[in-house]
Symmetry: C2
Subunit: 90 residues, 2 copies
Amino acid sequence: MSRHRVEVLIRPRPGLLDPEGKAIHHALASLGFQGVEEVRGGKSVSLEVEAKDPAEARERAEEMCRKLLANPVMEDYEIQMAGDDVPEGA
Amino acid sequence: MSRHRVEVLIRPRPGLLDPEGKAIHHALASLGFQGVEEVRGGKSVSLEVEAKDPAEARERAEEMCRKLLANPVMEDYEIQMAGDDVPEGA
């Protein structure tokens, strides 16, 4: 067993209202940041998970998301582990 | 100019109180998740930034962090772009 660092990103599902993202977007525009689009607010949780390998750590983190960290009606989650490539889309 | 997806993670600085992380840690333990450590709560902001290349998009996102998204006294930020490797530490 070893410890694996896992980063969980939790965002409102596409199509749902995202008042935090909207507020950030407006604030950026009023500070003069032009050309910024698709601003979305979210949460992150980072944790270290004991597991025999990264695949098991990811599976445990998925279970934590389903049971506690994310609300499946309102939110999507993404699990990142050290060494992963950051994905293209959100 | 093209659009670049940027993901910003904002976390309480190491050593500062993190009541959200603590609450999540306790909730995970009470759901039976053992062997989870270093739980830290945070925010994420994803955005699409117009820039001539990824380096410029990252620079603009850094400036947004310094001016609006993160509180430098209390928070650290990390900027991820599509195709980056997820770093080892937090």
